[in-house]
């Protein structure tokens, strides 16, 4: 999370870039830079979505406690 922006940050920046590009008027160099940044942000957003996928686990209380044993919290 330190290097890659969070989902909402990335999405907001991406939306801002798209709006900016659609408004037009940026010079060609800036346009190309924004396109590159937008593409990178899109990849960030997509990878965040993939990060949410995993297993569904149904644990009894004792199983859950055994799993976190030694964490100092339980």
């Amino acid at each position: 999370m330190d290097e890659a922006p969070g989902y909402t940050d990335a999405l907001q920046r991406l939306e801002a870039i798209v709006a900016e590009l659609e408004r037009g008027g940026a010079d060609l160099e800036t346009t190309v830079k924004m396109f590159e940044e937008g593409t990178a942000l899109l990849r960030v957003c997509q990878s965040h979505l993939e990060d949410a996928e995993g297993r569904v686990r149904r644990l009894r209380l004792d199983e859950a406690e055994a799993e976190v044993e030694g964490s100092g919290d339980a």
């Binding site: 590009l21 940026a26 899109l42 949410a52 995993g54 339980a74």
Partner: protein, 449 residues
């Protein structure tokens, strides 16, 4: 004729085989009663008849009113610390049960409150809320839910309908979403402790290093709750220990207890109050397909807008060129001139170089021609000279003046009489022809042959 009933004969084998052992019958009865929801976990009102606390810690009591009575038991783990007086008005939460050794119908009581104590409980709840308010727990800044969760912990009734609802609904909205359900008791004795422990376990899973041990990202949100029930059923969520556990959670907590109308203390202290467990899912889990569609739209718009800009730039350049030609301004004129100058210089440079090359070729050609001509002239002159010389020395010229040449018959030129003998045939060549002759006599010469 009245007497003790007597058994006149033993029953048939068939009858024996069909007879149910009484113990099994009692256990079957017990199971039937336990599976009948209207007989389980009922809130009953009455007064205490008998109250006996056994050495084992179990309490045996009778609950009665004007219309009836029922024996009841509170197992030691559930028995209140204080004894109730005979005649005390109480409310109990209990389930009908059979005590198999005696086949006795009894009420198994989980909780008992003196009627005025119910008021006490509510007063207790109000004091708790007041205390939490004074501590600022009710006004604290609520943490926002993640835009979407990467690992949800759900602390909920083990195997409950609410658990099934949460799992199904979240799967519908986000297939494959990472979820960890921690099944706990949510009502009755032990619910308070299990809810606290379940929350603590969920909190521990929010620790990245703990979660990583199972290869999971840390829990980033917790749902704690249960399905609908009576006020009594939901009471654990009004207890201080549970409320304080919610407040300790390191990640946002959604309290999802009962139905819309129920408000419990955990609702007041959680980061988000959901009206039901399903409502919690709807608030927490976006529809994944919507996000994917949004991404796709942004991707398309990004490409379209960028392409259009590039296209515009290309068009702009073309347009600029036309405008420069049509309506030159000073700056542009200078630029055009410079461009023209450059182009001119370039083409001139090219032409000059071409011309230069041609000159070289031409010069070389001319030089060559001159050389050849000169050579030819010189040669011609020399030829004329030579011709004159040749002409002057040509023997035929001499012959033209009346001289002839003698050749032997083998063609040799005869230059001396010594080459001749009488009778040799000779050929005489003159300027305009030849004739043959024979030698009659040879005179002169050193040769005497």
């Amino acid at each position: 004729m009245y007497g003790r009933p007597r058994i006149h004969h033993v029953p048939s084998e068939d009858l024996l085989a069909g007879a149910l052992p009484v113990g099994r019958f009692v256990h079957g009865l017990r199971r039937m009663l336990q599976e009948e929801p209207t007989l389980q976990r009922q809130v009953l009102r009455g007064e205490v008849g008998r109250w006996t606390r056994a050495r084992s810690g179990h309490v045996y009591l009778t609950l009665r009113d004007d219309d009836g009575s029922m024996d009841a038991v509170m197992w030691s783990s559930r028995a209140p610390p204080q004894d109730f007086e005979e005649g005390a008005e109480v409310i109990v939460l209990g389930s009908v049960d059979v005590y198999p050794p005696r086949g006795q119908l009894q009420l198994s009581v989980e909780r008992i409150f003196a009627v005025d104590r119910l008021g006490d409980l509510e007063a207790q709840r109000r004091r708790l809320i007041e205390a939490l308010r004074n501590e600022g727990a009710l006004d604290r800044a609520r943490r926002p839910l993640p835009f979407f969760p990467k690992h949800v912990a759900v602390v909920i009734g083990a195997g409950s309908a609410a658990e099934a609802d949460v799992l199904r609904l979240s799967e519908d909205r986000w297939p494959g979403l990472r979820r960890t359900v921690i099944g706990v008791l949510v009502q009755g004795e032990g619910a308070e402790g299990e809810l606290v422990r379940g929350l603590e376990a969920a909190a521990a899973m929010a620790d990245p290093s703990v979660a990583a041990r199972r290869g999971n990202p840390p829990v980033d949100v917790i749902i704690v709750g249960r399905g609908g029930g009576s006020t009594e059923d939901l009471w654990a969520f009004n207890l201080e220990a549970v409320a304080r556990a919610v407040l300790r959670m390191p990640v946002p907590v959604i309290s999802a207890v009962g139905h819309e109308v129920d408000v419990v203390v955990t609702d007041l202290v959680a980061d988000v109050r959901a009206s039901t467990p399903s409502d919690a899912v709807e608030r927490l889990v976006p529809v994944r397909a919507d996000l994917v569609q949004h991404h796709d739209e942004l991707e398309a718009r990004l490409s379209t807008a960028s392409m259009r800009r590039t296209h515009e730039a290309r068009q702009g350049l073309l347009l600029l060129r036309h405008r420069l030609a049509a309506a030159p301004t000073t700056g542009f004129t200078a630029a055009t001139r410079r461009l023209d100058a450059l182009t001119g210089r370039m083409s001139r440079a090219t032409e000059a170089r071409l011309r230069q090359q041609q000159d070289v070729v031409n010069n070389a050609g001319q030089g060559l021609k001159r050389n050849v001509d000169q050579r030819l002239t010189a040669d011609r002159a020399r030829l004329a000279e030579m011709d004159a010389v040749l002409r002057s020395t040509d023997p035929r010229k001499v012959m033209e003046r009346g001289y002839g040449m003698l050749h032997a018959d083998d063609g040799r030129l005869i230059t001396s009489v010594t080459q001749l003998r009488a009778g040799d045939a000779l050929m005489v060549r003159l300027g305009d022809g030849q004739a043959t002759t024979t030698v009659d006599r040879v005179e002169g010469g050193e040769h005497d042959g």
